[in-house]
Amino acid sequence: MLLGPALAISAVLFTLGVAGVLLRRNAIVIFMCVELMLNAVNLTFVALAQRLGMGGQIFVFFVMAVAAAEAGVGLAIILAVFRHKQSVRLQDMNLLKD
């Protein structure tokens, strides 16, 4: 069956997403890595839905709705920050640190 390979592929994809968030400093690339993690979890849901009922596929539907909302609001925040700082690098966003 495909459950084992799907879980293995999903685990590595999720880890690559986490590594991207930890290693990059560009806010937009970090956002894309979060999307990568959401996609890896979607693969797990669909793989388990094959044996545990349609609920998994429905949940992927909701994950997509949340991802769309998150992308819209998150990119609007990045635009607002860029207007103040002229940069999307995270080390320039240190207003609370000083």
């Binding site: 685990a11 400093r25 925040i77 635009l79």
Partner: protein, 171 residues
């Protein structure tokens, strides 16, 4: 044969995800992420989720990634600049943390759901053959999951209002 094809798409997803997190240009990263999403859509088809695969291509690879590319181009980030990948110390720390997480996930992946709650093999495929691809998803969505569906619409409304307020000239 099915498993081989599944692994081929899995390796495509791995390689394109790796290229996505290592490319210097955000545009290149976004385009490699689109490749990952198409590979995932192919895997969804093999896992009896054809409708979810279509949504993956339309919503993720279509709408969401176009939004990302739109913002990248609006902010004029496509030019080659200095790399934004962290230095050796940050790189080593991130790699160790990611490796640790991978080990934990691999241990978890060996767990299987108990046989008592598993459906017999092919149940979902039979359901789809009987009801059709879309109805098999739509029936539970509008019956058992109706309240979460309405809450999702509220969430999207809140996101629209939030995005408009945040994008206004004067904050």
């Amino acid at each position: 044969m099915t498993v081989t094809i599944f692994w081929i798409f899995g390796v495509i997803a791995w390689v394109s995800a790796l290229l996505c997190i290592t490319r210097r240009s955000p545009v290149a990263s976004a385009l490699w992420l689109v490749v990952t999403m198409f590979a995932l859509a192919a895997m969804f088809v093999q896992l009896d989720a054809q409708f979810i695969a279509a949504l993956q291509v339309l919503v993720y690879a279509g709408a969401i990634m176009v939004l990302f590319l739109f913002v990248i181009m609006l902010l004029n980030l496509g030019r080659p600049g200095p790399t934004d990948i962290k230095g050796p110390a940050g790189l080593a720390m991130g790699a160790v943390l990611a490796a640790l997480l991978l080990v934990q996930l691999r241990v978890l992946a060996n767990a299987r759901p108990p046989d008592a709650i598993q459906l017999p093999a092919g149940t979902i495929a039979d359901l789809q053959a009987h009801q059709g691809m879309v109805a098999a998803v739509a029936n539970p969505l509008f019956e058992a999951y109706l309240v979460p569906f309405e809450i999702a619409s509220l969430l999207l409304l809140a996101a629209i209002v939030g995005a408009v307020v945040l994008a206004k000239r004067k904050l």
